[in-house]
């Protein structure tokens, strides 16, 4: 089956991202395809390259990136929810005149329409939120 995940919780604030990541690996272990993860609401913070947890804690951004590299999972971040919260790609930073940015590939800023497309395209969309 084709699965999509909707993640709406911030890392290190809520358990939603950890729960989602555990579920993602279990989906793949059962032989399913994980098409994409859509980050919305406070979930956009999962994409921040500046997150710096202590060394003995999982870096969630890196964990999502590994999922992408090993299983080709799309990591889409709602652009409106991200910009509002200070999660900005290089091109958006240039557009707004910032000298720094904190979102880069494999995460992609995308419109909210991508969430609805993911829901329509997948056999299952599972939400993880706090």
């Amino acid at each position: 089956m084709d699965y999509g995940l909707l993640v709406m919780g911030a890392p290190y604030s809520h358990s939603a991202p950890h729960s989602a990541l555990r579920f993602a690996h279990a989906v793949l272990a059962r032989g399913h395809q994980l098409v994409g993860v859509f980050f919305y609401h406070d979930g956009v913070h999962n994409a921040s390259t500046l997150m710096t947890p202590p060394q003995d804690e999982l870096n969630l951004r890196d964990a999502w990136q590994v999922l992408h590299e090993q299983h080709d999972v799309a990591l889409d971040v709602c652009i409106a929810a991200a910009l509002r919260r200070g999660v900005v790609s290089q091109s958006e930073a240039a557009r707004h005149g910032y000298d720094t940015f904190n979102l880069e590939a494999p995460f992609e800023l995308t419109g909210l329409g991508q969430l609805l497309t993911l829901q329509q395209r997948c056999d299952r969309l599972i939400t993880f939120a706090s």
Binding site: H41, R84, G111, L112, L116, Q119, T127
Partner: protein, 121 residues
């Protein structure tokens, strides 16, 4: 691909409590813009999003009522509230915007169909 039954967007957060309300309504608007038929269910605190007299909040905190008023332009005319929510909150129907349809317990359950895409905010 799923069959194109109408999208159910559930709103459970009040104005000015979290951005869940605004971002939930945004999802409904985008769904409608994508040609999906959208139905909104306001449960619990979410029903407060329909209060006709609500205003902007603390400085810089925008009102969400203008989004509610925009729904009709996107052909979202199914604004549902469980009767149970109105009773629990002691919220009179007259305090809400026009066009809200209260639903019985059975009608609420009937909205949860396995063939209908659902987003819960």
């Amino acid at each position: 691909m799923r069959e194109s039954e109408d999208l159910l967007v559930i709103i459970r957060h009040a104005p000015h409590s979290s951005n869940c309300l605004r971002e939930g309504l945004d999802a409904a608007l985008v769904g409608a813009a994508f040609g999906q038929s959208v139905r909104l269910l306001f449960m619990g605190q979410g029903a407060l999003a329909l209060c006709r007299e609500q205003q902007a909040g603390a400085p810089g905190q925008k009102a969400s009522l203008p989004i509610i008023d925009m729904l009709e332009m996107y052909d979202i005319d199914q604004l549902n509230v469980p009767k149970r929510t109105l009773d629990d909150l002691n919220l009179p129907l007259e305090t809400l915007v026009d066009g809200v349809t209260p639903l019985s317990e059975q009608e609420v359950k009937a909205l949860f169909s396995q063939n209908r895409p659902i987003l819960n905010f």
